[in-house]
């Protein structure tokens, strides 16, 4: 189905999925590639080559419709100056808030793309774009409201949106300006799109999501999305009431977590967007067995059978340490389901 990467027309790729008689899958799968490379999580998030090796080996092994770069929501905050905890086999965490008040927001400098580990992520993107030729490759970055929450402390940021609207927007604008350029740089590295993870917006009402997140995401989408580069908007929070706002960003695909019933989303979402979701990445994919994984995947595929824009995925990032046989079971369930469709 997929030709040389250089010529992927992303809208054709989407149409191919929608028109397909079988179901496709694209789990958020990067860290379990360490099962095969033998390296550590800290290698993936600090060295572009290590991340590329992981993505490449997964691309060769599994029939995912596309390859995804690592989801590490500390990269962009670190570029702004946040300090991180880096541990061998855990995704990095932000140590403490960088911004404490309005004055600090005003003085906050927008970093250049390439600062800190963004350089390594872009290196991984360039290598993956060049060497993975049979399917699209998507980069990964945080969303503007979630990044603001990382810099300001998410609890404080949520309160700030109620008590200081003007400075809340100033901070999110700065985050968004950086993310626009970061997304553009991913595009220039040759990848076919980007997943924007905006989980903090799942804590907001629909109106606040529109004001503090979707408005800025729309700006990023307008800046980078075209026939060869798509935006996938991921939110693993409580998104049932946010679907309309998420779709209004113009992102060609929406990705949902396992906190919600994907059928409610499919009933609400526009049919011209791909809808990805939402097998529980920990309870099911990591912690259960092949039998349970297969029955859960099959159940979801059967429920969503009538939705041609549905793409099977994990609800969020599949963690490091997930057994190889569990990932195999996820794809075997898809294959078995598709075989029956063809009969």
């Amino acid at each position: 189905m997929f030709k040389s990467k250089k010529f992927i027309d992303i809208k054709n790729w989407i149409n191919g999925i929608v028109r397909s008689e079988i179901k496709n899958a694209m789990p958020v799968l990067t860290y379990p590639g360490l099962n095969f490379t033998g390296e550590k999580v800290s290698d993936i998030v600090t060295r572009g080559e290590a991340q590329y090796n992981c993505i490449k080996i997964l691309a060769e092994r599994y029939p995912s419709a596309a390859s995804l770069m690592a989801m590490d929501l500390s990269v962009e905050a670190e570029a702004f100056g946040s300090r991180i905890y880096l541990r061998d086999n855990e995704v990095p965490l932000i140590k403490s808030r960088l911004i404490h008040d309005s004055l600090m927001i005003q003085n906050l400098k927008i970093p250049k793309v390439g600062t800190a580990r963004t350089f390594e992520f872009l290196k991984a993107a360039k290598l993956a774009a060049k060497n993975i030729n049979n399917k699209p490759v998507f980069g990964n970055m945080i969303g503007p409201f979630s990044l603001a929450g990382r810099l300001f402390d998410i609890s404080e940021m949520l309160v700030f949106t109620l008590v200081d609207i003007e400075n809340s927007h100033k901070l999110i604008s700065k985050c968004s300006e950086f993310l626009k350029e970061y997304a553009l740089m991913y595009k220039e590295c040759g990848v076919d799109g980007i997943m924007i993870a905006e989980p903090a917006a799942g804590l907001l009402s629909a109106d606040m999501c529109e004001e503090y997140s979707s408005t800025y995401i729309r700006d990023i989408v307008d800046y980078v999305q075209d026939d060869r580069f798509m935006v996938i908007l991921h939110n693993c929070g409580n998104t049932i009431e946010l679907v309309e706002s998420m779709a209004s960003t113009g992102a060609l695909a929406l990705h949902f977590g396992n906190a919600i019933d994907i059928m409610e989303i499919l009933n609400k979402a526009p049919t011209d967007r791909l809808i990805f979701g939402n097998i529980d990445p920990v309870s099911i994919i990591k912690n259960s067995d092949s039998h349970k994984i297969k029955s859960t995947v099959r159940n979801l595929l059967e429920k969503a059978a009538g939705y041609r824009n549905f793409v099977l995925s994990s609800g969020c990032d599949i963690p490091y340490g997930t057994p190889e046989e569990n990932i195999d079971a996820f794809f075997e369930a898809l294959e078995e389901y598709n075989k029956e469709l063809k009969i």
Binding site: R87, E90, L93, I154, V159, V163, L203, N258, K286
Partner: protein
């Protein structure tokens, strides 16, 4: 008296902290939970009544509205701030024993998880319902939970995780607590957690929202 306690409950429900607080905009320049609680004490209203008919009533309404998606996390945080401000005035009455807590609840995020928003919401709601909350903070090692449970003779502990990568550490924490303490009830919560996961790891209760935890605790001490 009822009017004043009703006003306190209203301030907690709508997140009006004090007179100078800009939120909510339609209560601008009005007294908040801070001033009204002080007024209530000055008028000789019993601290226990202020707690039960003011703070607890307000927080219960917020908890129910949150569950019903009528308010969202930012509004709940404002309510919790209003409640905490009022609670500070009641602290001497807890210390003197005039007002008694319903019980002790220990809470923290599990090892590796620095995200405290869910934990804070639950802690504030439970505190607002008259419990003494011992907040161990973030990235709490299993042995620290055990130590705190023993030190405070607590019967209830809450474990929180926001990330799929750190919820795995809940299992280790549950095992450590269960094997080193007795009679403890472990509550779990967080965005990636569900009841199926609770069963897998052997915890006692899961709630998708803070109010569920409040109701579970209150039911156990009723």
């Amino acid at each position: 008296m009822e009017t004043l306690l009703g006003k306190i409950a209203y301030c907690v429900e709508f997140g009006k902290i004090n007179k100078k607080a800009p939120y909510p905009p339609d209560m601008k320049d009005q007294d908040g939970a801070d001033e009204l609680t002080k007024q209530a004490l000055d008028q000789g209203i019993n601290a226990d009544m202020i707690l039960k008919n003011g703070l607890v009533t307000g927080m219960e309404k917020v908890g129910i509205k949150f569950r019903e998606n009528k308010v969202f996390v930012p509004q709940v945080l404002m309510s919790a701030k209003a409640m905490s401000t009022a609670m500070a005035h009641l602290k001497p009455f807890f210390q003197s024993g005039e007002v008694k807590h319903r019980g002790i609840f220990i809470i923290g995020t599990v090892t590796g998880d620095l995200h405290d928003i869910g934990k804070n919401l639950v802690a504030m709601m439970i505190e607002g319902n008259g419990w003494e909350v011992i907040d161990l903070g973030t990235d709490v090692k299993p042995e620290k939970f055990v130590e705190a449970i023993k030190k405070h003779s607590a019967n209830y502990v809450g474990l929180s995780a926001l990330l799929t990568t750190t919820m795995i550490n809940m299992e280790k924490t549950v095992k450590e607590i269960k094997s080193n303490t007795s009679g403890i009830n472990i509550l779990i919560g967080g965005a990636p957690v569900n009841d199926e996961f609770r069963i897998q790891i052997g915890a006692d209760f899961y709630s998708p929202d803070p109010q569920g935890a409040v109701e579970y605790l209150n039911k156990h001490v009723a």
